[in-house]
């Protein structure tokens, strides 16, 4: 039976046990139906024909190539956005300047743009009909329907993550500690590495993990710029689509299970970061 105790047992402001159980039951049912069942389904379908069939899915050279491409795209996109995120958080969090609010809104833009539209903007820029298309063709450089396009689209959709996680933390930290370090003779880089970074490392870690999860999982934007060339320009999510549409369900879900594990790992890191933050806050509260 559900032990439905209120978080703090002040009798004047709690609901009856029946109402509590009803509300908890409804919530658990909702979360179970919409979160747990789909998550379970991924693994159940991946292992539907046993471990051997699951393992065999990863012998397909196209699948292996998709995994390699996904790792490559993330390996380029995440460091790029990490550097950007740190720079943006420093500029915005530590200084006052005109147009700051507008800059933050611009950094948020990729969050609110449909990934398909994001992909399309790159096609319009670098595609054969695009602004730089003729020049690129003349110099024999291919971006759209090739790996550079996939990397660019990935950078676009994961653009705000690190900056967005770091910004509130860096801004909340204030400037006192940095100013103290500078008056003690540290230079800018030392101040950042020894004073700022240790204070924001958990937010930074979480931002990077989230950025990585989205980079590896991006579908819409990459789908538009990739051209779906098997073994060449298919990332893991695109390979999942190909396999699924070919009715190779076990293989599709086997690849999906890797991404689901990545998602679970992301959630674990997020929870650990949050619990740590709460544990640090609690004694002073």
């Amino acid at each position: 039976m559900v032990n439905a105790l209120p978080a703090s047992a002040a009798p004047a402001v709690s609901e009856s046990a029946f109402v509590r159980r009803l509300l908890i039951g409804t919530s658990v049912l909702f979360l179970g139906t919409f979160l747990l069942v789909p998550l379970g389904c991924v693994f159940a379908a991946a292992f539907a024909q046993g471990v051997a069939a699951y393992a065999a899915s990863f012998h397909d050279p196209d699948t292996l190539s998709a995994i390699r491409l996904t790792l490559l795209a993330a390996a380029i996109a995440v460091p790029c956005n990490l550097v950007f995120g740190v720079a943006a958080a420093w500029a915005i969090g530590k200084f006052e300047f005109f147009g700051k609010g507008f800059l933050i809104a611009l950094i948020d833009l990729p969050f609110s743009i449909s990934p398909v539209v994001a992909g399309l903007t790159y096609v319009l820029l670098f595609g054969s009909h695009g602004w730089f298309g003729p020049w690129l063709a003349a110099h024999n450089v291919q971006i759209i329907f090739a790996i550079p396009g996939i990397v660019l689209a990935t950078i676009f959709v994961t653009f705000p993550f690190v900056a967005r996680e770091l910004l509130p933390t860096i801004a909340a930290q204030g400037n006192d500690e940095e100013e103290a370090a500078l008056t003690l003779g540290a230079n800018g880089w030392q101040t950042f590495m020894r004073v700022t970074l240790p204070n924001v490392k958990w937010a930074l870690l979480y931002g990077v993990i989230l950025c990585n999860a989205r980079a590896m999982g991006e579908f819409g934007a990459v789908s538009v710029v990739s051209g779906h060339i098997r073994g060449l320009t298919n990332t893991m999510p695109l390979q999942i689509e190909v396999l699924y549409n070919d009715y190779q369900y076990v293989s599709a879900f086997a690849v999906a299970s890797l991404l689901a594990l990545l998602a679970l790992a992301t959630l674990v890191v997020k929870s650990v970061v949050e619990w740590r933050a709460a544990a640090i806050e609690r004694p002073s509260a």
Binding site: A10, P11, A12, V13
Partner: protein, 356 residues
């Protein structure tokens, strides 16, 4: 609804009987009993953690006692929830509804009544208007709590509690979050308000001056127990325990013994503790009796209505003395001078029981 001139609410007497309350391993209230007569203004005075707020919340029904009972007019109200008790509760940080205006905050308690008990719109408006006049905020009625000063919020919180015509008004550290000056004003105002409304009121405070100035009766609490109940005069002049003596004002403490019914200060004696208020100490240049202590002045603060002198006894105990400006001028005392300090009035405690 009370209407027009007579604003006296129907208030009740409160009796707390053998109430105990624990939070985990912490005993907040330990078998506490207290009688609060109808229409009185009682202060629960004590340091933080003494259980005073817990007792207030139990009376309000915001917390339930582990054992014991609370009676209103002799009837146990243990089975009544906070909303059924008709208690006006003023929270330390006011707990004003910030999305409601001053007017809406005050009217809240009337507007949420079941339809058959709810006054008409006109009656609600009239009642709220009266209260706005009472707290002198009629021209701020449309403002939100965020736009008010601390003192104004406090008054709105009081008016909101009074709007439902409570049978008891309970205030948790009502002036705790205010500036010293505003606090002074509001104390007087609360006293006057109570005289006008006449509702049984209990307020919690850790500030002895506040309790002494405002309350009819003071219950001094310490470590989950009530140490003493009495008028401000009684608890100040006749403290029942060393805790109360200590808590109500500055005090000098000496070890001593009792010979033939008189107390003798003796730093090597055990068993008796002698308490002397700073203003009950004589200071002079000559010994006037066996209780005169040789001491050396270490600090003199003559800025104020009385002169505060700190001195060290021969054995190194710090003594605080307060004398009038006139006396100070007559003595011509300076820092680092040898003086004799003689208690005029001693309170003697043995095993924390007052002997005389």
């Amino acid at each position: 609804m009370a209407s027009g001139g007579d604003r006296k609410a129907v208030s009740v007497s409160i009796a707390v009987r053998n109430v105990t309350k624990t939070f985990g391993s912490f005993t907040a209230l330990d078998n506490v009993s207290l009688e609060i007569p109808q229409g009185s203004l009682v202060a629960l005075l004590g340091p933080s953690g003494s259980g005073k707020t817990t007792l207030l919340r139990i009376i309000a029904g915001l917390e339930s006692a582990d054992s014991g009972e609370v009676q209103f007019d002799g009837r146990d109200i243990g089975d009544r929830t906070a909303r059924e008790r008709r208690v006006g509760f003023v929270f330390q940080h006011y707990a004003l509804f910030r999305h409601m205006t001053v007017l809406e905050n005050i009217a809240f308690g009337l507007r949420v009544r079941p339809r058959r008990l709810r006054p008409s719109r006109a009656e609600i408006a009239a009642r709220v208007g009266q209260l706005l006049d009472l707290i002198q905020l009629r021209n701020q009625a449309g403002r939100y709590p965020a736009q008010l000063s601390g003192g104004q919020r406090q008054r709105v919180a009081l008016a909101r509690a009074l709007a439902v015509e409570p049978s008891v008004l309970l205030l948790d550290e009502p002036f705790g979050a205010l500036d010293a000056k505003v606090r002074q004003e509001l104390r007087r105002w609360l006293r006057e308000l109570h005289d006008e409304v006449g509702v049984t009121s209990v307020f919690v405070t850790h500030d002895q001056d506040e309790a002494l100035e405002v309350a009819d009766q003071i219950a001094v609490m310490n470590a989950g127990k009530i140490e003493q109940v009495g008028t401000p005069d009684e608890v100040y002049h006749n403290p029942a325990s060393s805790f109360v003596y200590n808590f109500l004002g500055n005090v000098n403490l000496f070890h001593g013994r009792v010979e033939d019914g008189t107390a003798r200060i003796d730093r090597e004696a055990t068993g008796h503790l002698l308490f002397v208020r700073p203003h009950a100490l004589e200071i002079g240049r000559a010994s006037v009796g066996p209780n005169s202590l040789r001491a050396r002045t270490t600090h003199i603060n003559a800025a104020g209505p009385v002169v505060k002198i700190e001195a060290l006894t021969e054995w190194g105990a710090r003594v605080q003395v307060e004398i009038s400006q006139d006396r100070f001028a007559a003595l011509g005392l300076r820092k680092d001078e040898e003086v004799f300090i003689t208690p005029r009035d001693l309170a003697i405690f043995t095993n924390d029981q007052r002997v005389s």
